[in-house]
């Protein structure tokens, strides 16, 4: 809502600087977005008259003008060629800072002094559409009656400020100037100066020749409908003052009748619609739901298909308007219209909103109806229209105004418990203070008992229905700044993360400490994301939840894995030459809980990461390629530090987007809980990654369920440990973990530690074999082991390995 300050001052006796008023309003809940000075840049621009002109002696295209600007005559040099003596023109005086950024200072042009500048439309940033065509080139020539010396902004009627209100949905009442004035009075204490028509009764009008019949078939959707006929309509231009006010409010002048309806809408917040009465079949208005299949061509010339959910204004046969949204083309007021039926009605906001949404059709009217208009005031609105129609000579309003008001809404009256006010706000206001805070709203206040104030709410404040609504009024009018600060005084509570929250946070820290940087990708993805992974249609990740109204195709599905996001992030980084990457993301993925989407989807927490490129060389270590074992090591570290027991890795050849020989399933407590490995070369190609990439994804709930093992102290052995190495040749195919487990099993509890320290395949080793070397640490908790005991055990392990793998000992 754009509020012209001069207009506002006519309605309420407020004399604050516009910005000061704006700040007060904002701090009282009517947010003022901007304060616009309409005369911005027109300071020191006045109306001047050219009293004499002569050619510049030293320049062909320049003129030396003598200009009367009200005080002493001044000489101004101009290059314009459209001027003659006697023309009235806008003159920028010394010190003016024009809207186009030009500052005016006395100057000499080719030796002739010039004191000011004659201005064109563009220099003054005026809208060319507001001016006759011949004024658009050269200096703007004003009407001959323009008063010399007058401020140009005053001459244009734009010496004003506009307060742009950013209204919350509950304060639609302030979409009309009268109610803005009421609000300003309540906030500032200024005196209201409302004209009598603001709360007028039914206008007294002479009887007309014709009558309109109104019936409401659906009182739930149309609470009240009033219709007034205007005969002998004379369509013409509106007066300048009305055009200026409409313009300041952001509306363009159309003709006197349309302008009156818009003007009254700005005054009283009530949308109006004018029908050409003679086009209405049966001279009748029926407010009803549309019949299925009915069609209506609206004013914007589009044909609309209607359904039973929509409310229409119909004549005896067909719809002639979409109630509260837009009129029909056939009943439009045109130049030859003789009689108008003017509608002021109340339609149910929710229904208007639904209709306007489903048709994709919004209008000033629908926006206001959606937020709610004041049904109680419709006759006053008709009266105001009648007054303006007569004042502008736009026609002859006739009576009686037809008023159909089937279900009257009882006035709202709220009992306010003042103790509750203080309790909710944390204040200590006396009853009398609360009364004086609410008094400026203009409501009737009655003390029913001590501490109980009965507030009779006026109908324009439809947002006030509950006690808490009044508590809010007290808070905002008293001032939030007058409320102190305390801390809740109830029982002490323990602020603490749940076990799972701790694990999630810990996982973030651990992965970062392993060199992975955290990314946050969108939860939505596109239909091609999984194609890039080459996933078959039956893959579980393909069961993505679709959005009904996505922003774009690439953001139209809910992700089922964090992997595509990580790969896209990697590709984006690569395109910017960030090629050495270790990234991770923790977050939810989504799967439908049932086919029909009757219940909420399943949300699964995932941990995923990606590593590619190298750890760059430094003076004290060589460049290291990222590889499978880098990522696996990070996971092992993660599992260890989270206290996740029973996590293991098993070769997995069946993941379509992974390298079949370089991928492991991550097993948690014996169940698959994710994977880690190298991406398939096809995927690497499809993301145009310059090298191999290693990724993992784990299921959070499986991991966290297995996590959190409590550390348990074991006595530190007092007897020495002995380390013996063992190198053996086994078939290259045998997974080392199998060998490791055999060693463990054979070694029993005297074998404290087994560490793989070397693995080799190549020239020194027979084909098809590999050499693996372990360090074995033997230790007893009860005694010092003798050489013989250790050797016996060591040999037992060798023998076991020989039996199980045909392992051959290397010397």
């Amino acid at each position: 809502m754009r509020v012209g300050y001069k207009w506002l001052k006519e309605l309420v006796d407020v004399n604050l600087e516009p910005q000061v008023l704006a700040d007060k309003m904002t701090m009282a809940g009517i947010a003022v977005e901007t304060v616009e000075n309409l005369a911005q840049g027109l300071d020191r621009v006045v109306v001047g008259e050219i009293t004499a002109m002569e050619k510049h002696p030293n320049a062909d295209k320049l003129w030396i003008c003598q200009v009367n600007t009200g005080s002493e005559p001044r000489q101004i040099v101009t290059g314009a060629q459209n001027l003659k003596t006697g023309d009235k023109v806008p003159v920028a005086l010394d010190g003016a800072n024009l809207p186009n950024g030009v500052s005016i200072k006395p100057a000499k042009l080719r030796g002739v002094s010039s004191n000011g500048m004659l201005c064109s439309i563009s220099e003054l940033n005026l809208d060319p559409a507001d001016w006759p065509e011949e004024s658009r080139e050269g200096i703007l020539i004003l009407q001959p009656d323009a008063p010399v010396g007058q401020d140009f902004a005053v001459y244009l009627g734009i010496d004003d400020y506009v307060l742009e209100l950013e209204l919350y949905p509950n304060r639609a009442d302030c979409l009309g100037m009268i109610n803005v004035a009421r609000e300003v009075a309540a906030i500032t204490g200024a005196q209201l100066k409302l004209p009598p028509w603001a709360d007028g009764a039914e206008p007294e009008l002479p009887a007309g020749e014709k009558q309109v019949k109104v019936s409401i078939e659906d009182p739930e959707l149309c609470r009240r409908y009033t219709g007034m006929l205007i005969e002998d309509v004379r369509i013409g231009d509106s007066p300048a003052w009305m055009k200026q006010r409409l313009a300041a409010a952001g509306m363009r002048s159309i003709n006197n009748l349309v302008d009156i309806t818009n003007y009254v809408m700005l005054e009283m917040g009530q949308p109006l619609h004018a029908f050409d009465f003679d086009t209405l079949g049966g001279g009748e208005i029926i407010v009803r739901r549309a019949n299925a299949g009915e069609k209506l061509v609206t004013l914007d010339k589009a044909e609309r298909s209607l359904d039973e959910s929509m409310l229409v204004i119909a004549d005896s046969q067909v719809p002639v308007g979409l109630a509260g949204v837009m009129g029909g083309l056939d009943s439009e007021v045109i130049d030859k219209t003789r009689t108008i039926m003017l509608e002021a009605a109340h339609f149910a906001g929710a229904n208007i909103r639904r209709t306007s949404r489903s048709l994709g059709l919004r209008s000033e009217a629908s926006l206001r109806f959606e937020k709610g208009v004041n049904a109680a005031n419709l006759l006053a609105v008709q009266g105001r229209v009648a007054e303006l129609v007569l004042q502008l000579g736009a026609g002859r309003p006739v009576g009686p105004v037809v008023d159909s008001y089937p279900v009257q809404v009882p006035p709202v009256s709220i009992s306010l418990n003042t103790a509750r006010v203080n309790e909710v706000l944390g204040l200590n206001l006396e009853d009398a203070q609360i009364e004086s805070i609410l008094a400026p709203l203009g409501f009737k206040l009655e003390w029913t008992e001590k501490g109980r104030l009965q507030v009779h709410v006026l109908p324009y404040r439809a947002d006030l229905n509950l006690e808490v609504d009044l508590i809010e009024e007290v808070a905002r009018l008293h001032g939030f700044d007058k409320i102190g600060t305390t801390l809740p005084s109830g029982n002490t509570t323990l602020g603490k993360r749940s076990e799972e929250q701790k694990l999630k946070l810990r996982a973030r820290h651990l992965l970062a400490n392993c060199g992975f940087s955290e990314v946050i990708n969108f939860s939505f993805t596109g239909p091609r994301a999984l194609d890039r992974l080459g996933l078959p249609p039956e893959h579980p990740w393909r069961q993505e939840i679709k959005l009904m109204n996505p922003l774009r195709d690439e953001l139209s599905l809910m992700r089922t894995s964090l992997i595509p996001g990580l790969l896209e992030t990697a590709a984006r980084n690569v395109s910017r030459r960030n090629v050495d990457l270790a990234l991770f993301e923790l977050g939810y993925v989504f799967f439908p809980a049932d086919k029909e989407m009757k219940s909420l989807p399943e949300e699964a927490y995932k941990l995923a990461g990606l590593a590619m490129g190298v750890i760059p060389k430094a003076w004290n270590h060589p460049q290291t390629e990222m590889d499978f074992y880098f990522v696996k090591g990070a996971l092992e570290n993660l599992f260890g530090e989270l206290g996740a027991d029973n996590c293991s890795f098993a070769a997995a050849e069946d993941i379509p987007f992974m390298h079949p020989g370089r991928t492991a399933a991550v097993m948690v407590r014996g169940k698959k809980a994710g994977f880690v490995g190298e991406i398939h070369p096809d995927v690497q190609e499809s993301y145009e990654l310059p090298g191999k990439a290693y990724i993992f994804e784990l299921d959070g709930s499986q991991l966290f369920e297995a996590s959190g093992a409590r550390a348990e102290f074991a006595p530190i052995p007092r007897f020495p440990a002995v380390t013996r190495d063992m190198a053996l040749l086994v078939d290259a195919e045998i997974p080392v973990e199998k060998v490791y487990r055999s060693i463990r099993r054979a070694g029993g509890n005297l074998l404290r530690e087994v560490r793989l320290f070397d693995i080799y395949q190549g020239a020194q080793v027979p084909a098809g074999k590999k050499s693996v070397a372990f360090s074995l640490v033997y230790q007893s908790g009860e005694k010092t082991l003798t050489d013989e005991e250790i050797s016996a055990l060591h040999n037992k392990i060798k023998k076991t390995l020989d039996q199980e793998f045909g392992a051959e000992l290397r010397q």
Binding site: T26, L487, Q501, A512, E518, V519, L551
Partner: protein, 340 residues
């Protein structure tokens, strides 16, 4: 013989002075004092001495031995000391060379700020509650006093999955879920961080962003308590000098409602580029829980009151780190991530 011993001593002393390393010193020690050394050689001729001379010479010999032993060990200590000093000199390294590289990743700034916000509220006795990112219309809107076709739904343009299921547009549904879960216990005191989604996409809006919701319900909770908690938060987050300011606002699920501004952390309230000259920066929305919402959560609106607030983590992070474009946050450029 006496003369021999004396000159032995002189000779040994003179030679020893020339010795520069432990090895030569040892050789010298063997040469003079060893089993086959010079001193032993001289003493072997003691048999030819008279019985009167013998003890005298013997005493002299012992004196010479002791003296030489003393000199040798003195010299040895001196040489050892020197050798150690030499080694320390040789072992000098360039301590300005960079240390061993430990590969350290970086947390996302949103994640860091979320953790920081959580820590502040944990410290004030709040628990952390979570709720689904894909929500029912009931929890996201209706239970929060936003009925179907209410104009307030325009404030949050939503992504729908079905007519009844949507991506949550705020973390506020967790308010209802938490109350349902905790009822009838008091106080309810939680924050709810998480992702939210709105159908917006421009330089200052992302279709996905992160919020932290706060909810306190108890007997006698007031707007002054809300101010107190938020002032404490603002000071912990942005510095002990910060002030806050509440501006009346509208949210369907709180009443009274307020936008909360914090005094500008850059200029301290004087007015600058960051606060656009006003001295204040809007950081969150808040209010007293609407009685309808308390009722939806199962609590008796006549017996308890509550406050709620919600803030965008992005906004806090951008203010805290001076990030001037929201799009960096979801671009995940390594050069950006490395800065945190």
């Amino acid at each position: 013989m006496e003369q021999q011993l004396k000159s032995l001593r002189q000779e040994a002393e003179a030679t020893m002075a020339q010795v520069a390393d432990l090895e030569s010193l040892n050789e010298l020690r063997v040469k003079y004092l060893g089993k086959k050394g010079v001193l032993t050689g001289i003493l072997r001729n003691m048999g030819g001495l008279s019985p009167e001379e013998r003890p005298k010479i013997g005493m002299l010999a012992n004196q010479v031995r002791d003296a030489l032993e003393g000199l040798f060990s003195g010299k040895e200590a001196e040489l050892k000391q020197k050798a150690k000093a030499d080694r320390l000199g040789r072992e000098k390294i360039d301590v300005t060379l960079p240390g061993r590289l430990f590969l350290q990743g970086h947390r996302h700034p949103l994640s860091l700020v979320q953790e920081e916000i959580e820590e502040i509220f944990l410290g004030m006795g709040f628990q952390i509650a979570e709720g689904p990112e894909i929500e029912s219309d009931y929890y996201n809107f209706e239970a929060l006093n936003i009925p179907k076709d209410h104009p307030a739904r325009d404030m949050q343009d939503s992504f729908y999955v079905t007519e009844e299921i949507l991506l949550r547009t705020h973390t506020s549904p967790v308010q209802i879920r938490t109350m349902e879960k905790l009822f009838p216990s008091l106080p309810v005191k939680v924050i709810c961080p998480g992702r939210v989604f709105r159908k917006d996409d421009d330089a200052t809006h992302s279709p996905m962003f992160n919020q932290v919701e706060g909810l306190v319900v108890d007997k006698g909770i007031s707007l002054a308590d809300l101010k107190g908690i938020l002032l404490e938060f603002a000071r912990q987050m942005f510095g002990p000098e910060r002030q806050i300011r509440l501006r009346p606002s509208f949210f369907p699920f709180t009443e009274p409602s307020a936008e909360v501004d914090v005094s500008c952390m850059l200029c301290g309230g004087e007015g600058c580029r960051i606060c656009k000259g006003s001295g204040w920066i809007e950081i969150l929305g808040s209010g007293m829980v609407h009685p309808h919402v308390l009722k939806m959560g199962g609590y008796n609106q006549d017996e308890v009151t509550g406050f709620a607030f919600g803030m965008g983590i992005e906004r806090i992070a951008m203010l805290k780190y001076g990030i001037d474009d929201m799009r960096y946050l979801y671009d995940n450029d390594l050069r950006f991530l490395r800065q945190f």
